[in-house]
Structure formats: structure tokens, C-alpha cells
Amino acid sequence: MTGPQATLILATALGAVGMWQLLPRAGARGKLLGAACLAVALGLWASRMPLLADWVQSGLFFILAGVTIVAAVATVTMRNPVYCAIWFGMTLLGTAGLLLLAGAEFLAVATIVVYAGAILVTFLFVLMLAQTEGRAWYDRSAWEALVSAVAGIVIVGLLSVTTSGVLLAKGDKAAERAAAKRVAAERAAAERAAAIAAEGKGDRPAAERVLAAERVLAELRKAAERAAAIAAAAEGKGDRQADDGVLAEHHVARFGAELFGRHLIAIEVAGTLLLAALVGAAAIVSQTRDGRTSGEDSP
């Protein structure tokens, strides 16, 4: 068993134990142990995650990720549902930060506004409407804590194994492919040059031959540039901000153009969906306790 695999398995096991202990179980006290296990597990996991481009990025990422995960765990394991909601807000903040780091500025803010500002608040409203007096038993006992914890952490483990495995392999393969592509591009350029050169041979006036030679050079340069660009793109280097990509300037404008350009119909449908949800929610809630629609006269 290789090192990374052993680390992963250990991390999975510790994480499962930790989550299990942390979950609200009837009459069990293991929060401290759980927290410790979970912390160790997170540390092990973090050790497997490679560093990013520079230390700023790495630092920001790990801090934000740590906050998000801790808040997420807290959300799920709190006994008081209101506390759960608050911690969920924390999670949302962390997520927003991560989204920002990844170059999705609009989405980061949208998360805060929509999720934390609207959805979370709605949850709190409902909690307050529906919450009974006192602490309910069902808040403090989880259903099948062990199985859920194991299932969840195993899924995380599998996903991370898949991801790392694929990306690692992909990275190597990508480099090979990049090299292969460069070689192919250069060869193609050389062939084209040779073709133009051959065309240029024969009985032709000198001016034409010069023009032909210049054309050949331009072609070669473009080909080289293209090859380099392809290689750089394959290797992930290069200035992302320079192209039309995600990290370009005027992100929101581009975002809007993309959204209302290519995905116009989807946006309209989403709006209709929101309307339908609104109407539906109102219709559902308007029924009274014994099933009659409110507003009718009671006999």
C-alpha cells in the first residue's frame, strides 16, 4: 500500500469516527474525541492537497477551506437548530470566499445575497414559526449516526481519490500531450513551409519569390506561437487574464453577456420556475389545519 493511499484510508477512518462522535446521539458524550479525530483527519487530508501557484493563494485557500469545513461540521452537529442555521451562514461566507478566489466574483456575491440573505433568513423564520417550546428530543438523537457518518466520509474519500488520481495522471499525460501537440504543430508548419517553398521554386519573378518567402516566415511564426500557446495552455501556464477567459477583466460584464447571450432561454425558464415556486408555496401554505383552504367560511 502506498503512502498516500494509507494516509487517505487513515484520514477516512478518523473522519468517520470523528463525525460519528460529533453527531448528536442520544445520551452519548464524545464531542471532544470527535473533534480531535476530525481535526486530525482534516490535517491528513490537507497534507495530501498540493500547494497552489503562490503562497498567497495557498494561504487564502487553506484558511477559507478550513473555516468552511469547520462551519459545515458545526452546522450538521449542533443540537439547537437555530445554531445550525447560524453556522450555515458561516459556511456560506466561507464558500463565498472560495468562489471569489476561484474567479467567480458575481457568484460569490450572489451566494451571500441569495443564500445567506434570503434562503437562510427564510429558514430562520420557519424555525421560529414551527419551533416548539423547549429542546426537542429529536434534535438530540440522530437516526443511524454511524452508518450515515461512514457513508458520507467514504464518499468523500472515494471522490478525493478519484480526483487526485485523475488529475495527477492527467497532469503527466497532459504534459506529454502538450509536447506531442507542439511537435505536431511544428511539423505541420514545416510541411507548409516546404510546400510554399516548393511552390516558390521554378520559373517565377523574384518579387513573387520574396513575397512567398515572407508568407512562409509569417506562417512559421504563427505556427510557433500557436504551438507555444497550446503547450502553455496544456501546462496551465500563461496569463489567464490576458485572454477572454474567466479571469479576464470586466468579469461581471462578460458574465452577464454569457448568461443572457448563450443561456437566455434558460434564464427565462428559471425566472418562470421561481414564479411557479412562489405561487406553489403560497398555495400550499394557504390550507388550514384541517385541510380547507383558508379564506373559506368555517361552518
Partner: protein, 764 residues
């Protein structure tokens, strides 16, 4: 006058048509007139049979005049042969009798089935090809082929004549029965089956009609089907016959494998011009003439084989076994014993005799027709027909004779103590059939003639006796226990006198019919007892036959005296019924009584029967001693005198015990016999039914119960288990639906985990 083919077809076809007509129209249209189609049809059949006899006789004369004979082998056969002869061969050789003429006329009506290339001939088979390079593949064809020869003609005449008389009698006997039309539909069906049985010319159809008469017997015995004893008796008859039929079928299979054909007759072959292969001719009126070898497909009992066997025997000596006729002594013995098993079933011989007394549950005309005169004689007919086969194996001949003799004695002993008049007559039938087989077991021309002649005469007087018993039963309103009525000679004079004639014929008193035929049988046995193989056994059989003759006379006249003599006793059920039967019933009785009186003397003294029968193709084979008188020797009266002496002795014994008030004597004798244990053994029919029940029916019942248990527990259990598997499967899966939403989600997640785990290797 119609030709032979038409006659052969008409004789069975008319009763069949009558049966169908009555079946269709009897219930609604004909009702009390239902007897007309039957009587008319059978009468016409009888006329046709007589015409057929005339035709056959004429044909024989024509042949003799034209100088046709069997081949030289047959001529030589007459003087020497494999049968046991007493006296030196020199004596017979010197006699040089004229060559015998045989006659058969075979008509093929319709080909039922043909299987090409079914059998490959061996080179030494009588009909093997001249050209041995090509292999001869014969086809197996079953065609409805009828034959007219003396044996068939005799049987047809007897069957139709007696059927006609019994049909007329039944008009009176079944007069008030609600199933009147049904009866007159069954009777011609039976007559059709029986006439076809004796007319067909191959073994397959013989088997078919063998079964058909068995079936008709079943439906006629169980005619009053709502009576449980009658239904049970019908079943018993059918099942016991089945045992015999099984043996018969096995014999057929062996015949096929040995001979490659199941026809009696030889069939002409045509050569296919293209391939040179032999093609059997079907659907033609075949008159088999002697032909070149390779141009005939030899039948099992055909002239070809008989002549070849005769030639072979002439070369190898009369006592040699083997030859081209059969393919090994063991095989011949097996075939004959199996055929004999079939005959035992049909003709109620030991060990398959148990069904005949119970068959008396049927109406009395049925008993008279089927179980006295016709169906039970089918076995005798079959053995007589297959005599050439039996001649190949002396063991088989012994077996036939022993079975016949033993059954005759056994049945006579049982009949002595029975109290049911019809049952006495039934055991008497069994005993007389034993006599016939005894005659056939002698395996000489004399023996065969004796057996057939006894069959012929027995039909008349046994039918007479049964019809007389029926008349008594009719008058006594169904009571047939001889202890309950008596002194009926003044009440029913016609029945009395005809019954007396029948009894005298059965006892074998000169000049009644039974005397002549019984005498012939005794002579045949005595001849075999004189010397040759198995002489000692034949000697024993002779004395057994003599003793049986005495017993026969005794029990017959016991029944007669108990019924018609003594104090006049009428049971209460009879009431005013006790009067003579109507003319329609007594007329057949009188005709039969005349036949019982005269038919024996007429046919025997003119030697007509023996001569006529001797022209059957299979009979030509026998070393011929005609009946002793034909040879012109001085009449040897030892045997007739012995027979008459024991018969008269039996009658006197019966008169001593039963004529007049001798209760004390009878009671004393009965007590002695009971003390000796003999009375009960005889009265209980030697416990055969109990033995069979214990050894055969009992294990079968256990087997049936086992089968039921297997079916119910194993097979049904398997099916139930199959049904329980989905149930169990469902019960296993049902807890998955426990209503908990989170459980469902967990199940989904676990499934997802499994999928991911399975797909993971593909990513790395």
C-alpha cells in the same frame, strides 16, 4: 351371387351399419323397434357367411379339379413331418395319400399405414432376393386385408348364425329394459368386431379387433352401469384381458423382428423398374399363387414359408427343429408363449380365468353370445390359426396342452359347488375352453381339427344352455340362485326340454353334438400319449380329461335337476311371472336344441368338417392323420366308450344326489367334504380372487398410493416451493419499505457507493 370380395366386406359391414344406425336413431326414432336394424343386418350377414362357405368349398373343388396343389414339399409334408407320430414312418410313407389342396382368397380393402424401408431381409429368408448383391428392404404396411379360407368361413358361419339367434332372443329378453336401443347398438358392434377378427389377414388388425371385442365385452358386461357389481365386473374383464393383450402385443413385436412382416398371407412383389428394388403391391385383390422366389414377400402363415419349411423338414427328417420357418427355437417358443398368454386372457384360461364368472353380471344374451360362443373362442381361433408357429416349439405345445387340461379340471371342480346357475355355466365354459386348448396342444392335424370342432359344437350347446338359463331367470324375475327355485319342468316345458338337450350335449352323450367333439379331443390326446416326446405328460392329461368329462356331466345335471326337478318352488319375486317365455325367446332355443342334437353327428359322420378345415393353408402343413375313421381302419371304440361311461356315471351320481328329496344324503356329503376342507376350497373358487387381490391388486394399490403421495408431496411440493420462492423473495425485500425517508436516502447513497467503488478502477 356376389363375389368373395363383396361377401367378405358385407359380413362385417352390415352389423357395423346397423350399430351406427341404431346408435343414431335408436333413442328417439326407433325406440321399441330398435331391434330391426340389428336383426336384419345379422341375418343378412349370416346368409352371406353361408354363401361364403359355399364359395370357399367351390373354390377348393375348382382347385382340386385344376390339379393345383401345394408345391412338392407340401405333398411330401403330408406323409412325414415334425409332429410326433406313433407308428413307424414307413407306414405313413407307404400310404402315399393324395396331395392336399389349400385355398385362400385374400382381399385388400385399404392401406392404413406404410413405412418404407422398414425391414431388411436375411439371405435365407424364404422371400429373399435371388440377387444377393442388392439388399432387400421391405416396407412395413398395415392394410385392411380380409381373407376367405376354410377356417375363417367356419368361424364366420358359426358367429353370425348364433348372433342372429341371440339377437332374436334378446327382443324378448330385453323387452322392458330402458336401454333397449343401446343394447341393440352394442350387439352388432360386437358382431362387427368379431367377424373382422376372424376375417383379417394380418396380426396388427387381429390385435385391433382383439381389443375391439374386449371393449365390446366391457360395455356389454357393464350394460347396467348403475349397478356397481356390473361396472366392477366390466372393469375386471377388461383389465384381466389387458394382461393377456400385453403378452399378445409383445408376441407381435417379436413376430415383427423375426419375420419382418405381420401378414398372414404372402404378398406379391413388383420390381421397381428403375432401382430394381422390390415394391409391395397394395390395394389389389391378391390371389396368391405360387411364384418365383424373390417375387413374394412371405407372410408369417403364408404358403411360401410353409412350403419351404416342409421341404426343409423333408430333408432333415421329421423331428428336426429349426429351418427357415422360424429364427431359433427360443424365439419361436417365446413368440408362442406370448401368443398363448393373449389367448389365455381372451379365452379365460388359467391364470387369467377370473373375469369370466364375474362377467355373468351382464344380461344373459350377452353371456350367451360373448362368453360362450364367440369372444372367448377368439383365443382358440388365434392359436389354431398360428399352429405353424406352435409347431416350431414343442415346449409351447406342451404349455398349451397343460394349460388347457389344468384349466378344464380346475373349472370343473369349482363348478361342482356353485349355486348360481349362470356361474355354473360360466365355469363350464372355462372348462370346455380348456378342452379346446387341450386339443390344440396335441399339435397334430387331428388335434387342431378336434379343438376347432369342439369350438364349433360348444358354441351351439353352450349358447343354448345360457339362453335357457336366461329364460328361467326371466321367468323367475331375476332370481338365478338354484336353491331358490325348483321343479320348473311343468312351469316351463319348452325351456325344460331345450335345456335338457343342451345338458346332454354338454355331458357328451351319444348322439348329441358334444359327444363327437369331446371324443375327438380325447382321441387326439390319446394319440400323443402313445409315444413320442412327452408321452407321459399326455397320458396324464388324457386321464385328467376323462375325469373332467365325468365331472362335467355331474355338475351339469346337478344344475338341471336342481332347476327343473324336485318340488316346485317359485321365489316370491316371480309372482305371476313364472310362466313359459314368449315365442320370440323359445324359438331360438328350439333351433339351437336341434343344432345341439344334430350338428355333431352330421359334420362328424360325413367327415365334412375335418375335410373342409383341412384345406386351410396352415393345416396343410400338418402331418396328416385324418380322423381315424378316414383311414378305413376298424372303429376303435375304446375312447368313445370311456367317455360315455364317465359321463353316464356323472349323470347317475347327480341323479342320486339331487333327483328327489335327498337332503340328508346331500347334507351328509357336504359335511364330509367340508370337514375335508374340499367343499370350501371349491366353493370359494380355489381362492383365486383372494390370491390375486393380495398379490396383484394389493401391491398395485400400494403403488398407487405411493404415486399419489409422490404427486401430492413431491411434485406438488416442488410447485409450491416454486410458488414460495417469490413470496420469500418479497418477504426479504419488503423491509426495505419501512416508511422512513432517511432510510430511503441512505439506500440510495449506499447504491451510489457501490457504483462508485465498481467504477473506480477505470479511472486510475
Amino acid at each position: 351371387m356376389p363375389d368373395t370380395k363383396t361377401l367378405l366386406i358385407l359380413i362385417p359391414a352390415l352389423p357395423l351399419a346397423a350399430s351406427l344406425l341404431t346408435a343414431v336413431l335408436g333413442a328417439r326414432v326407433l325406440r321399441e323397434r330398435s331391434h330391426w336394424p340389428t336383426v336384419v343386418a345379422i341375418a343378412l350377414s349370416c346368409v352371406a357367411s353361408l354363401l361364403l362357405i359355399y364359395r370357399v368349398h367351390h373354390g377348393i373343388d375348382e382347385r382340386a379339379a385344376a390339379g393345383e396343389k401345394g408345391r412338392d414339399g407340401a405333398a411330401r409334408l403330408v406323409s412325414g413331418g415334425p409332429a410326433r407320430q406313433h407308428g413307424a414312418e414307413g407306414e405313413s410313407e407307404a400310404a402315399e395319400p393324395e396331395p392336399k389342396v389349400d385355398y385362400e382368397h385374400v382381399v385388400s380393402i385399404w392401406t392404413w399405414a406404410v413405412v418404407d424401408d422398414a425391414y431388411e431381409l436375411e439371405n435365407d429368408d424364404p422371400s429373399a432376393a435371388v440377387d444377393a448383391r442388392t439388399s432387400e428392404m421391405r416396407s412395413f404396411s398395415i392394410s385392411v386385408t380380409l381373407r376367405a379360407d376354410p377356417l375363417t368361413a367356419i368361424m364366420l358361419g358359426m358367429v353370425t348364425f348364433i348372433s342372429m339367434l341371440i339377437a332374436v332372443y334378446s327382443i324378448g329378453y330385453m323387452h322392458h329394459d330402458p336401454g333397449y336401443w343401446r343394447f341393440f347398438s352394442y350387439i352388432p358392434l360386437f358382431v362387427f368386431s368379431m367377424t373382422m377378427l376372424v376375417s383379417v389377414s394380418n396380426f396388427v388388425l387381429l390385435y385391433v379387433f382383439w381389443e375391439a371385442v374386449g371393449f365390446c365385452s366391457y360395455i356389454l358386461i357393464g350394460f347396467w352401469y348403475h349397478k356397481p357389481e356390473a361396472a366392477a365386473a366390466g372393469k375386471k374383464a377388461f383389465l384381466v384381458n389387458r394382461v393377456g393383450d400385453f403378452g399378445f402385443a409383445l408376441g407381435l413385436f417379436l413376430l415383427w423382428t423375426a419375420f419382418g412382416t405381420l401378414d398372414f398371407h404372402d404378398v406379391k412383389l413388383a420390381r421397381d423398374a428403375d432401382t430394381g428394388r422390390a415394391v409391395v403391391l397394395h390395394d389389389t385383390e391378391l390371389v396368391t399363387d405360387a411364384a418365383q422366389p424373390g417375387q413374394v414377400s412371405a407372410g408369417v402363415l403364408g404358403r411360401e414359408r410353409i412350403d419351404r419349411q416342409g421341404e426343409w423338414l423333408a430333408q432333415h427328417g421329421p423331428k428336426a427343429t429349426g429351418g427357415p420357418y422360424h429364427h431359433g427355437t427360443l424365439l419361436a417358443m417365446a413368440i408362442c408363449l406370448l401368443l398363448m398368454l393373449g389367448a389365455c386372457g381372451k379365452s379365460a384360461q388359467f391364470p387369467l380365468h377370473v373375469w369370466l364368472p364375474d362377467a355373468m353380471e351382464g344380461p344373459t344374451p350377452v353371456s350367451a353370445l360373448i362368453h360362450a360362443a364367440t369372444m372367448v373362442t377368439a383365443g382358440v381361433y388365434m392359436v389354431a390359426r398360428c399352429m405353424p408357429l406352435f409347431l416350431a416349439s414343442t415346449t409351447a405345445q406342451f404349455v398349451v396342452a397343460v394349460i388347457g387340461g389344468f384349466t378344464a379340471l380346475l373349472a370343473a371342480l369349482i363348478a361342482m359347488t356353485q349355486t348360481d346357475l349362470k356361474r355354473i355355466l360360466a365355469y363350464s365354459t372355462i372348462s370346455q375352453l380348456g378342452y379346446m386348448f387341450l386339443g390344440l396342444g396335441a399339435a397334430t392335424l387331428l388335434g387342431v381339427t378336434a379343438g376347432m370342432f369342439h369350438l364349433f359344437t360348444h358354441a351351439f350347446f353352450k349358447a343354448l344352455l345360457f339362453l335357457g338359463a336366461g329364460s328361467v331367470m326371466h321367468a323367475m324375475a331375476g332370481v338365478i340362485d338354484v336353491r331358490r327355485f325348483g321343479g320348473l319342468r311343468r312351469v316351463m316345458p319348452a325351456t325344460h326340454w331345450t335345456f335338457l338337450f343342451g345338458c346332454l350335449a354338454l355331458a357328451g352323450i351319444f348322439p348329441f353334438a358334444g359327444f363327437w367333439s369331446k371324443d375327438l379331443i380325447l382321441e387326439a390326446i390319446h394319440e400323443q400319449a402313445g409315444g413320442g416326446a412327452g408321452a407321459l405328460m399326455y397320458q396324464a392329461l388324457y386321464w385328467a380329461a376323462v375325469a373332467t368329462a365325468g365331472l362335467t356331466a355331474f355338475y351339469t345335471f346337478r344344475a338341471y335337476f336342481l332347476t327343473f326337478w324336485g318340488k316346485e318352488m317359485i321365489p316370491e319375486e316371480a309372482g305371476d311371472h313364472a310362466h313359459e317365455s314368449p315365442r320370440v325367446m323359445t324359438l331360438p332355443l328350439m333351433i339351437l336344441a336341434l343344432c345341439a342334437l344334430g350338428v355333431g353327428a352330421f359334420f362328424e359322420l360325413t367327415h365334412g368338417f375335418a375335410r373342409f378345415l383341412g384345406h386351410t393353408p396352415s393345416a396343410v402343413y400338418h402331418a396328416g392323420l385324418a380322423p381315424a375313421a378316414e383311414h378305413g381302419e376298424a372303429l376303435d371304440l375304446t375312447i368313445p366308450l370311456t367317455g360315455t361311461a364317465v359321463a353316464v356315471g356323472g349323470i347317475l351320481m347327480a341323479a342320486l344326489l339331487y333327483l328327489g328329496p335327498r337332503e340328508k344324503l346331500v347334507g351328509g356329503l357336504t359335511a364330509v367334504m367340508t370337514r375335508l376342507g374340499l367343499y370350501r376350497v371349491s366353493h370359494r373358487k380355489f381362492y383365486f380372487d383372494e390370491i390375486y387381490y393380495g398379490f396383484v391388486v394389493g401391491p398395485l394399490k400400494v403403488l398407487a398410493w405411493l404415486s399419489y403421495a409422490v404427486d401430492r408431496f413431491v411434485i406438488d411440493g416442488l410447485v409450491n416451493v416454486c410458488g414460495m420462492v417469490p413470496k420469500a423473495f418479497g418477504a426479504t425485500l419488503r423491509p426495505l419499505q419501512n416508511g422512513m425517508i432517511q432510510f430511503y436516502a441512505l439506500a440510495m447513497i449506499l447504491g451510489l457507493l457501490v457504483l462508485m467503488g465498481a467504477l473506480l478502477p477505470f479511472f486510475n
